[in-house]
Symmetry: C2
Subunit: 376 residues, 2 copies
């Protein structure tokens, strides 16, 4: 059968990402490609860096975009900060903490796992106990907003404890950046990475990342080369570095960066605090609407991520059937549970451009309609 | 200063890539993002796979797209095929062969380098000698079309020699795919990767790749885990795999894949052999036009890549000044020399959508105008 142009169906994206993308950002993606060493493109890269410093709330010079999805941002953080034989304290309260553990192992590190139940924040006391038991550790990793469960950990407190024990922190902010308070400098977070396709509502495929001076010094003091050539920040920063002449490393995903640039300009126009507030308000609207139809949240109130709502699937309700009907009849995508959460929770995203009252009401109303089938 | 929307300047891209992108492909990029686990998106991924099998001239089931640029395609090939301690014969006749060597080293392999002068093809006899001297080697790497010098190596012959010595080949086809004959199955190439932004004229940021059954068996017989989580083909293929239920690995660069899909549909419409022929004809047109203004090619005629023309910079001509004037006055980008070739050659790309008679004449005419300055 002949393959012809692909025209995506209309959707409303309220899963764990990608989120709906503004027409402004989509239009930016379609602007003509220029060379990645063109002076005008380099100027744009410098602006992306400045805008990311704003979004991350940091003055870190080593702030750039990994030319690959959030998981590659995670791998960039870990392969640069961890050497073979290093003890690394890895906090795990969901899929993404587990992925950090796997990556630490693949670069020869020795992970010491601090676990919290899925759906709960990491307990600072447990981290402290692990640090006391492993004084040789120099790196702690944790997920700020665990996308697989909807639980938000206290990044500031975890980082402070790590620092008291002479450790640097690697923070997964894939779902938090742009959606809830994240203050890299004020909270003294050493390495923080994110993804483009969550609360920034930029096209998927890019991973913003930032390293502070302590992290840069840690990398400069490595005894072994970084195992990945593509993700070695020593090389990548010669490409993103703006001060001197730009050194060719790889070809940046130019049109994707157009999209990210536009999304960051929109974030700046709105104001970061206003964006956080909007995500919070729409979360509260969704909470009211879902509770009115008898749905319950999976995560205790104080530990919820406003932009990613994990909701318990009621007894007797067929998970897959509900999501299929939402997609087919309402063109609405919500997220399934991942791993051990499959069939137990739905994940309803109110991220970036998609975090608005219209989506809240539409989602609650569509869910109510579909769920009636199971209650009649 | 306030940062506003970025509007790229008008350019004609005749460097080593990215190449000019068709308006059809740019428009495809701006279609609304849908979920990466959406049944319609999975259908599109399956089509991309089929179209890539056509472009690569292969029936390999393990044909997919790495969600990152060509260099990550290179790293995917190497980290999956090479284990610590393995002897790897690495053919080096330019920057990208050297990059393969660096990657082999970073994953603990022992590279044995087969060198050819920059601007020349790899000599089959030298590869044979290295294989005889290193009977323990099981993998050979080479670059089909060396983008840094414009030299085309004989992939079929090199692969045949490697196979005689019980080795598998990893082939860099970043610049060759879609631009000159490349027949993965007929030539028995085991692992072949490419980039989206050269002769496919798709947006930069994606690396098509294919593994044959021998390569898959080689990976399945590994004694150690692949050092990269993000690039581990065992994991990635569960995402691109199609037969069973798709397993979440990372979030694909959705809009970039829309663009690649459209570019591949266009390649299919034109016909692969017709595309090769078009690249060849425009190369010959450029050759005639450049020789008429006294410019000489860097690579011997029999070893030239038709889509990437390496031209010697005449004595007394200021490289940077010429390229700057072409960019500013003519909006025309041509490529500088990389590494030891800097200041010695220009690299003029006639790739994909940009390989047309209009660009040939425009480039020759603009170069003639600018070069007159230095001759008067």
């Amino acid at each position: 059968m002949e393959i012809t142009s692909f025209h995506p169906p209309q959707r409303i994206l309220m899963g764990p990402g990608p989120s709906d993308i503004s027409p402004r950002v989509l239009e930016a993606m379609s602007r003509p490609t220029i060379g990645h060493l063109d002076p005008e493109f380099i100027r744009m890269m410098d602006q992306v860096k400045q805008l990311l410093q704003y979004a991350f709330q940091t003055r870190n010079d080593m702030t750039f975009v990994v030319s690959a999805p959030g998981s590659a941002g995670m791998e960039t953080a870990i392969v640069n900060m961890v050497e073979p034989g290093d003890t690394v304290i890895v906090c795990v309260n969901g899929v993404f903490g587990g992925r950090m553990q796997a990556m630490v192992e693949r670069c020869g590190g020795q992970p010491v796992v601090v676990e919290a139940p899925w759906g709960r924040a990491i307990e600072p006391e447990k981290l402290e106990a692990a640090l006391k038991a492993h004084p040789e550790a120099r790196v702690v990793t944790f997920v700020h907003a665990e996308t697989s469960t909807g639980a938000l950990s206290d990044a500031r407190t975890l980082a402070a404890i790590a620092h008291q024990h002479d450790c640097l922190v690697i923070v997964d902010a894939v779902t938090s950046l742009g959606g809830c308070p994240l203050k890299v400098d004020e909270w003294e977070l050493d390495v923080v990475y994110s993804g483009s396709q969550k609360c920034l509502s930029a096209p998927p495929g890019l991973a913003p990342i930032t390293f502070n001076e302590r992290a840069v010094a840690h990398i400069q003091n490595r005894k072994t080369p970084v195992q990945s050539w593509f993700l070695d920040v020593n090389l990548v920063m010669q490409y993103w570095g703006g001060q001197q002449r730009r050194a060719y490393h790889h070809t940046a995903p130019i049109n994707n960066l157009y999209g990210l640039h536009e999304a960051l300009v929109m974030l700046k126009e709105e104001g970061l605090e206003n964006a956080w507030q909007r995500h919070r308000e729409n979360h509260l609207r969704l909470k009211t609407a879902l509770e009115a139809i008898g749905l319950e949240f999976f995560v205790p109130e104080a530990e919820r991520i406003p932009q990613l709502n994990a909701v318990q699937i009621p007894d007797g309700v067929d998970d897959a059937q509900v999501r299929q009907r939402l997609l087919e009849e309402f063109r609405l995508e919500i997220g399934a549970g991942l791993g051990p959460m499959a069939g137990k929770i739905w994940r309803i995203g109110l991220m970036g451009y998609g975090s608005n009252p219209k989506n809240v009401l539409y989602c609650a109303s569509a869910l109510e309609t579909v769920l009636k089938t199971f209650r009649s």
